[in-house]
Symmetry: C2
Subunit: 342 residues, 2 copies
DNA sequence: ACGAAAAGTGGGAGCGCTCCCAGTCGGTTG
DNA sequence: CAACCGACTGGGAGCGCTCCCACTTTTCGT
């Protein structure tokens, strides 16, 4: 009655073998591109495959090979950050691009609370993926250790500390921050504050270090009152700016460790009637979309986020293919994008 | 020599059964929460499970049940859009939230070109997921039809046309646009233009229709020169604004079908020396982050994107559980967020 | 107290594949 | 011409699970 075209059971290896007049082994070899198949047999199998529209059952394959052909991208972050930051989109694009000419699939896992962490742990223990990509790492994050312990191939975007034991990729945070600060110094600024990211994250620390180094380099004594710790949020940036201004009214420049925080700082400066860049120069970090839309447009340190996504993926694929190899790292360069705010 | 703790084979159902002194069947029942197990047996099995740290092998399970416990979120969009729009992040968050108390996993699939489309097709044909979430639909998108044909449970965020046959969720685009236009009329504006999205997308059409309806409602004759078709990009919005101004210099308000396009329009208006909102009022759509950062801050129609993500997920889970049921739709309300631009 | 229904249980069959080994069949070689 | 070798091939075994059915034990009703 109804068209049998899309009905019924999908064809199996066995069915293909029968139609092609060969054994299961031969079909399997053809499907997997293994050597040792005569041209004749190969042709017969290929015809049969097209005719039946055969597609291997991944579960059956996975059961015996114990590969899954999936990698997970884990994003451990509070609701708020994901909303504001295009960072993750860019990473996803990079990962996806690199995966595109693979048979690997991308699983996206958001870890926002304890429950989701447990879920992820079970998930990894069940070996539902061949490897894991970890983004936005905190020093005390239990996840990297956990994954390392269960021998799950893992690559980090970022690192727990400068002596990270897992493979990882990060941009040159110290260098980028230093470049920004040098730009401010060159612009004649003398009292350069910084709004940092969380100091339990290497990005936070490294960008702060860049600020210190650039200042030290020029022989400037570092006034610790010029450091305000924030949390990568806009509100945090604004509050930090307020504190900074209260502590040292004479500030004439700020380096913020993210554009979002810089945007918050901008708001506070406007509120206080300080003109940017005339009274206070501001530089952000990330060169995210937001940077082009603030008033004035934000000068910012660009990091190649999509390239980070591609790199961690490439590293992970290598790690999966050759688990024995020693862990490796990659540092990607940053560039200063000068706009109107500094 | 080395610690056997994390070494060796993972325990199987069989191992648990042996340790608990029961049969495989009983263990399986306990693991799957099936009824018909005595309290005593259940306790024994649970102890054994904890002791061995048993985790079911998903591949083996999948092989026999032909469920995968995965759903795919397909994002078919050019590079540029994903970069600019926080839309996708919000959807992802919604989907992930709704999935969190399920055993379902989320696969993210970007479809940017023909090759990735083919890849997705094979992927779906291999039934590597139990269902598919489709976002950002074009009228001529082959994907929904394809998935429908292969009986893959599918839910759309958006729709191909007003008589969509698949289950779908979308926000009240017509109503939202109309509200925006009414707000402009109430503000005393008389020459209200619109910058539309692509007209091969229902969102584009519906928001345009809202503009028409609100205008018609107030008895205003609709001047077709006030319609400029764009493509949801900032550059497109800017070009559209330019055309509009060239055609009808007396424009005193614009309704743009997205914030990103509105931002482009703002740039063009500034360039031409038109003050916003004094000379020209501008309203966007989406209430995305960008809206708060333009100058002046953008009045915008907010749609509950995260709720859309949650809704499509809920619908998909139902669809997977009961494939027989008729397709359903959901329309989510929008709200006008008034800021400085109108 | 006795049979019947209900509740609980064990384990065979089989999901669709890969791995591997024993074979087959030409074509060499001494 | 026999012995041999390499290239190919078929199919058994088994991956770890669920499904289901036959079986045993309990719990009733009368």
């Amino acid at each position: 009655m109804s068209s049998p075209k899309h009905q019924g059971q999908r064809p199996t290896l066995e069915a293909v073998a029968e139609l092609a007049g060969v054994g299961r082994g031969t079909v399997s070899r053809v499907v997997n591109g293994a050597p040792g198949v005569s041209a004749k047999a190969r042709a017969a199998v290929e015809t049969a495959i097209t005719q039946l529209n055969y597609i291997p059952n991944p579960a059956a394959r996975s059961l015996v090979t114990s590969r899954t052909d999936c990698v997970a991208l884990v994003i451990p972050e509070s609701e708020s950050r994901l909303a504001a930051e295009p960072y993750f989109s860019a990473v996803i694009r990079g990962v996806s691009t690199e995966l595109a000419d693979t048979e690997m699939q991308l699983l996206l896992i958001l870890v926002r609370d304890r429950r989701e962490l447990d879920r992820l742990t079970r998930f990894a223990a069940a070996r539902r993926v061949d490897g894991v990509l970890l983004v936005s790492i905190h020093d005390d994050d239990p996840l990297p250790g956990l994954l390392e312990e269960m021998r799950m191939p893992t690559v980090l975007a970022g690192r727990r500390s400068p002596d990270e034991s897992l493979s990882h990729v990060h941009s040159d945070n110290v260098g980028g921050a230093a470049t920004a600060v040098r730009h401010l110094i060159d612009g004649g600024r003398t009292t350069i504050a910084t709004i940092t990211g969380p100091l339990d994250m290497d990005v936070g620390n490294s960008r702060l270090r860049g600020w210190r180094e650039a200042l030290a380099e020029r022989g400037a004594a570092v006034d610790e009152r010029l450091v305000a710790v924030a949390d990568f949020t806009e509100e945090g940036g604004r509050t930090a700016m307020r504190d900074l201004l209260d502590r040292v009214p004479g500030i004439d420049a700020v380096f913020a460790a993210s554009d979002v925080m810089a945007a918050g700082a901008l708001t506070e400066l406007r509120e206080r009637g300080r003109r940017v860049p005339d009274d206070v120069a501001v530089i952000g970090f990330d060169d995210s979309v937001i940077a082009r839309h603030t008033t004035p447009a934000l000068t910012s340190v660009r990091q190649p986020i999509e390239a980070i996504g591609r790199s961690i993926t490439r590293l992970l694929l290598t790690e999966i293919a050759e688990p024995a190899t020693a862990h490796r790292q990659l540092v990607l360069p940053t560039t200063l994008v000068v706009r109107d705010s500094a």
